[in-house]
């Protein structure tokens, strides 16, 4: 993904976009294992509010995080219409609670802008960039970083 390369198929990536808190986010389609409807979670003790608990994904115990709460925008009132995106990134598989899944986008690397320096560093770290397409602005989330950050020890100690 070096920007100096000529545009090839490798420079184009497909993203799945989803809605949370009225904003449109996107994640690399290769990191997404499946999308499923909301099911009640089993709460975990002593975890931050954005960790909604765990669900049974065909025998796997899957932790679910609330994207809205992770972004510091309050806890999602989850209903049957909400969606859990099952993400497989890095060494972990986790579920991410979002409002809805909307689209599949093909984005070339030239369409990706770096993150403007308006948000706090801590939130910046898992935003890969911003894609602007037909006037839409989509925030590209780096799933590996997101999954890694949510299990970070520091965050938990603060919350505990």
């Amino acid at each position: 993904m070096s920007p100096n390369q000529h545009e090839t198929a490798q420079d184009r990536r497909q993203y799945i976009t989803f809605l949370a808190t009225g904003q449109e986010f996107a994640a690399d389609i290769m990191t997404i294992r499946e999308i499923r409807g909301w099911t009640d979670t089993t709460a975990l003790p002593h975890v931050p509010d954005y960790v909604r608990g765990v669900i049974n994904l065909r025998g796997m115990v899957l932790p679910v995080i609330d994207l809205k709460a992770r972004l510091g925008l309050g806890v999602t009132e989850a209903t049957a219409k909400h969606v859990i995106i099952v993400v497989n990134a890095g060494e972990r598989t986790i579920g991410i609670l979002v409002d809805a899944v909307s689209d599949i986008l093909t984005v070339t690397s030239t369409e990706i802008q770096s993150v403007p320096d308006v948000v706090r560093e801590s939130q910046n770290e898992y935003v890969e960039g911003i894609a602007v397409l037909d006037g839409r602005m989509v925030t590209l989330l780096g799933m590996a970083k997101l999954t890694a950050s949510f299990a970070g020890d520091k965050i938990l100690e603060q919350a505990a």
């Binding site: 089993t42 608990g53 025998g59 986790i94």
Partner: protein, 698 residues
Amino acid sequence: MDPMEAIKQTYFQECDELLLAMEEGLIAMENGEADGEVINAVFRAVHSIKGGGGAFGFDLLVGFAHVFETVLDHIRSGQLAPAADVVKILLKAGDTLSDHVMAARDGAGEVQDTDIKAELYMLSGAGPDAEEAAPTEMEGIAFTPIRLDIEEPPCPAPCSWRIRFAPHAELYAKANEPFLILRELGRLGALEVRADLTRMPDLSVLEPDQAYLAWDVVLTGCDDRRKIEDVFEFVTDDCDLEIREDVPLPPLACASRTAAPEELQVPETVQPASAAQSDASSDKKPVLAAQALETAPKQIIRVDLDKVDRLVNLVGELVITQAMLTQRVVECGQTHSAAVSAGLNELEHLLRQLQESVMAIRTQPVKSVFQRMPRLVRELAAQTNKQVHLALEGEATEVDKTVIERLGEPLTHMIRNAIDHGLESPDERIAAGKPAEGSVKLSAEHRGGRIVIEVADDGRGIDRARVRAKAMERGLISASASLSDDEVDNLIFLPGFSTASQVSNISGRGVGLDVVRRNIVELGGRIVISSTAGKGSRFSLTLPLTLAVLDGMVVAVGNETYILPLSHIVESLRPKASDIRPFGSSGRLLNVRGGYVPLYSVADLLGVTGAQDDLAAGVVILVESEGVGRTALAVDTIIGQRQVVIKSFESNYRHIEGIAAATILGDGRVALILDIDGLVARCRENGRSREYLQAIGA
């Protein structure tokens, strides 16, 4: 994987087994059971290690193994008697050989073997000059470790033949059939055939039209070499053939005991590869089976552990699905249908059997861990100048592989402890009227669905006054605490008890007994020590047979369902309001038949909402754990007791204190398995519980 690398890996796997066999044999010799069978087994093990090592160019390993093997050969042929001092050197040589294997595997540096080599030369009566040349000449043929070239025939009347028959691919191409040839050979006399599968590659790289098999044949009762040659008349150009006269070999069974299982296991996986070859190998099996009948070897296949684990997981899923199905049927009101409920019962029954069978695949005898201990004991004995005899018992006891893997460290520690702290020096022992040689007994047995492992020594026992003084000094107990002897003994497991002043280079590897205990408790086990002054002490370690399932009590707290490990539960009771006493700022104590134990609400500990505020309205479960002693936990209700499949979520998330793992209940929901130590320890860190402890004199 690079095929050479794969073969190398197989070689090292085999080395592990061979080293174990060698060690086992040497220990038998140490105990005076040095019959031909045992010596042969040791010899064979060392020889096979050498042979394989040569193929990979591990010169140092081969060089040492050769010297070792020479001495063993002398013992085998009766030139050297396996006296105690000889066996001692052999044991040391065995350790060095295993170091060599390790060094070859890890590519580590040289192994210091000059001293032991010199001792071996003394035994074999040969100088290094004469011997050193030998290994290089061995290398060329090293990977066909046949017993052919081993035994020099001093016997004047040979009537048996050793034949090495290795067909080339052309032999098969010309429609010859090794089986028929071997059968023909069998008409000449008594025949013992062994297939040499060392050249057999992995199935993935196996070429079906190539020849990989070779046979080592011992033919007895034929007096004419030409008759044998005649049998091979049509194939001599298409095979490697070697015919030698040999002394009559007394018992073949001795070699086959160690050899048969590894050789039998391969045809199972190989058969489909080549019609001609597999015919030969399967037809030959009865011969092998017959010859090995008295030792009745089991057929074994090597399976990747991942595959077994996947199977275990799937069966776990199946059990959960079955529970779910049963629940759904109940919800539908279909339970009145006899056919449905009979079917469900049958299903449950079968699933239970299936689960047990699958779990049994993962079990292994504890031998693999136990066998590592004699070496440890020898080294410790040498370091401490004590004389130690190690007795092993119940090595065949089987436990789940996950448990086996984690047994090594605590066992090592307990044995170190027994030798370093438990046993006295020979002088002290004699003064105390004991034999100079101390004894350490390591035993394993199944007891009540768990495995109990004991390390018992006949040393001085625990000095209770000193333990007590030290515990007091460290602030672990109050001066007024009245403790039973057992309680004093078990103080040594408390964190902070093991101290710098106690650390020697043997016991003190930075791991206190508290860590050992914590590791054991993490496995769902417990460890206690009992001791008699002057007579010795005994560590008892109890562990579940498997770490994949757990017997648990399902409880409800608020809207949540939790599992408490049954192994920790002492009893459950409905408390009277008058039995619950406030204590300190926010603590509570529960009166259990006159004794007070700290009482915690699980809802408070886990921050669950919607639980009963009035603890007296719920149920109290009295638990006991190594870390926190006896504690009462208040829950809303008990739902039932069941076996649950343990699911880790740590790989996807992280460890949460107080939660051991998760499981999936019959309704498909996840329930958390509580870790009682972690749960209560969390409170203790808040400083609330020390006062309890002191108050109740614990």
